[in-house]
Symmetry: C2
Subunit: 258 residues, 2 copies
C-alpha cells in the first residue's frame, strides 16, 4: 500500500462541499467513485479541508491509498476520465505513510471575488459574489490590511463552532481591483469555521458604509460573532493553495512558505 | 425614435453566434425577446460582428431603436431582468441616428485562450481550448509577432468567403503565459472570416512542431488557406473590445484608438 497525494481543482457550485454527507453530492464521493471505477475497490480519500457547499478550489489536496503500482504521471488522466467535468486531478505524488493533508497543513491561501459592476458578470457568475451597492474599493483594500497579524479571531467564527483556540495568524490580506472585479487574497496559518466568508462579508459592509480601521479593531476586540458583518456567499470563495512542510509533498507550489 | 448603443457581454457556449439564424438560439434573438418583453414591441437589433457559434464576448456592441423616453442609466438592468444569465447589457448610450456598430468600427481586440496543463481546467472549460500536446509557449509568443503588420491575410480566411479585399492591419499580436493558461491577444483594424481562429490554430501547430518565423512568412505569402493550420475551436475565442471614432459612442473604453 502506498499513500498518494492528489492535487485537485474543482468548481464547487454543484457540490455540498468536499466531505461526504447524506443529502448532497460531494467532491470526496466523486473522487471515490472515480477511484473505484479505475481500480475496482473503493479506497479511502482524506481531504485537507471540509470546504462549505458551493466553495471552489484551485488547488485542493487529498490523500488516498493504492495497493498496486500505477505510474504516477499517468494517474491524474486515468482518474479524470472517470470524474465529472467540474473536478480534475492535476497531479499525483507519493507521500510518506504518516502524511496527513489536513493536520500537516502549515497554512492556506484563499481568494474571495466580488463583482462590482451593476450588470452581472456572465463569465464569473458562479465564482464571484455580485455586489451592486456603492462599495468603495479603495476603502475595502485599506481595511483589508487591518486583519493581518496574530490574534483572537473569534468574532469571525460562525456560531455553533466549538473550537477552543481561536487565535490564528493572518500573514497577508490584500485586495486588488481589475475591470470591476475586486479580489481579496488572504493567507494565514489556519482559519476558523466560515472565517474567510465572514471576513469578506465584514469588509463588504465596512467598505459600503464608510467605516474606518477603528471599527475593524473594535469588532475584532469584541470577540463576538455579532460584532462582525454577514457571512458572504460561498460562490465568491476559492481555496487557492495549501502549504505543507518543505520536502513533504514533492509538489513545489504546495511547499512555498506562506 | 432614438438610437441606443448597448454594450453587452455574453458567454457564447449555448448560442449559434450573435446573428439570428433558423436552427439555433442566438444572442440577437435573446436581446430582441428581452426588449419586446420590456417595451411591448419587437425592435430591430443591429450587431457589430456576426461572431461564430460558441464564441464569447466581453464587450460586444449593438444598436436598437427606442420610441419612448427611458432613463439610460436604468436601461441595462431593466433589459437584464429579461435576459438569460449568460447575456448581460453592461451599459446603454444614445448615439447619432447614422451610427452603425459594424460599419463604424475602426478595429477590434480578441483574445484566444489555450489551456496547456495535462488536466482539464474546471473554471475555464467553456472559455478556453485545451491543448495537451507539447506546445512550446515561448515559441508561440515569439511567432505571434510575425502576424503584425499590414498585409494580405487571405491564407487565414476560411474557405467559402468571398471578400474581395483581404488586406488587413494587425496592430498587436502578443501571447502571455500565466499558470498554464496561454493567452493570445490580437488587435487589428478588421478580421477576415474565422481569421483569429485560423491564426490561433496556425500558431498552435507551429509552436507544437517547432516551426520558425520563416514558416509563418511563407504561409502568409502563399495566400492560400491550405498553407495555414487548422481552425482552432470557437470556445477559446472572446471578443474583448470594439473601437469606434472618438466622441461617437459616449463609452470611453470603446473609443481608445487601437
Amino acid at each position: 500500500m502506498s499513500q498518494i497525494l492528489l492535487q485537485c481543482s474543482y468548481k464547487g457550485t454543484r457540490y455540498g462541499g468536499f466531505q461526504v454527507q447524506p443529502n448532497a453530492p460531494t467532491v470526496q464521493q466523486a473522487l471515490q467513485d472515480a477511484l473505484e471505477a479505475l481500480f475496482g475497490a473503493r479506497p479511502p480519500v482524506t481531504g485537507c479541508s471540509r470546504t462549505d457547499a458551493g466553495v471552489h478550489a484551485q488547488n485542493y489536496y487529498c490523500t488516498t491509498l493504492l495497493d498496486r503500482d500505477f505510474a504516477l504521471d499517468r494517474l491524474p488522466q486515468a482518474i479524470n476520465a472517470h470524474l465529472p467535468d467540474d473536478i480534475a486531478v492535476r497531479r499525483a505524488a507519493a507521500v510518506a505513510p504518516d502524511f496527513h493533508p489536513r493536520y500537516m497543513a502549515l497554512g492556506k491561501r484563499y481568494v474571495y471575488r466580488i463583482w462590482l459592476h451593476s450588470a452581472r458578470n456572465v463569465f464569473w457568475a458562479d465564482t464571484s459574489h455580485h455586489v451592486r451597492g456603492r462599495l468603495d474599493p479603495a476603502l475595502f483594500a485599506a481595511l483589508a490590511g487591518c486583519f493581518v497579524g496574530r490574534r483572537d479571531f473569534s468574532s469571525l467564527q460562525a456560531a455553533g463552532s466549538e473550537v477552543a483556540d481561536t487565535v490564528r495568524t493572518i500573514h497577508r490580506c490584500e485586495a486588488t481591483l481589475e475591470d470591476d472585479m475586486l479580489t481579496l487574497s488572504i493567507t494565514g496559518d489556519g482559519f476558523l469555521y466560515k472565517m474567510v466568508r465572514i471576513l469578506a462579508g465584514t469588509l463588504i459592509e465596512a467598505a459600503s458604509k464608510g467605516r474606518g480601521a477603528g471599527d475593524i479593531e473594535a469588532l475584532l476586540a469584541a470577540c463576538n460573532r455579532r460584532a462582525a458583518g454577514p457571512t458572504a456567499p460561498a460562490r465568491g470563495l476559492t481555496l487557492m493553495q495549501v502549504y505543507y512542510p518543505p520536502g513533504s509533498t514533492g509538489i513545489a507550489e504546495a511547499e512555498v512558505d506562506p
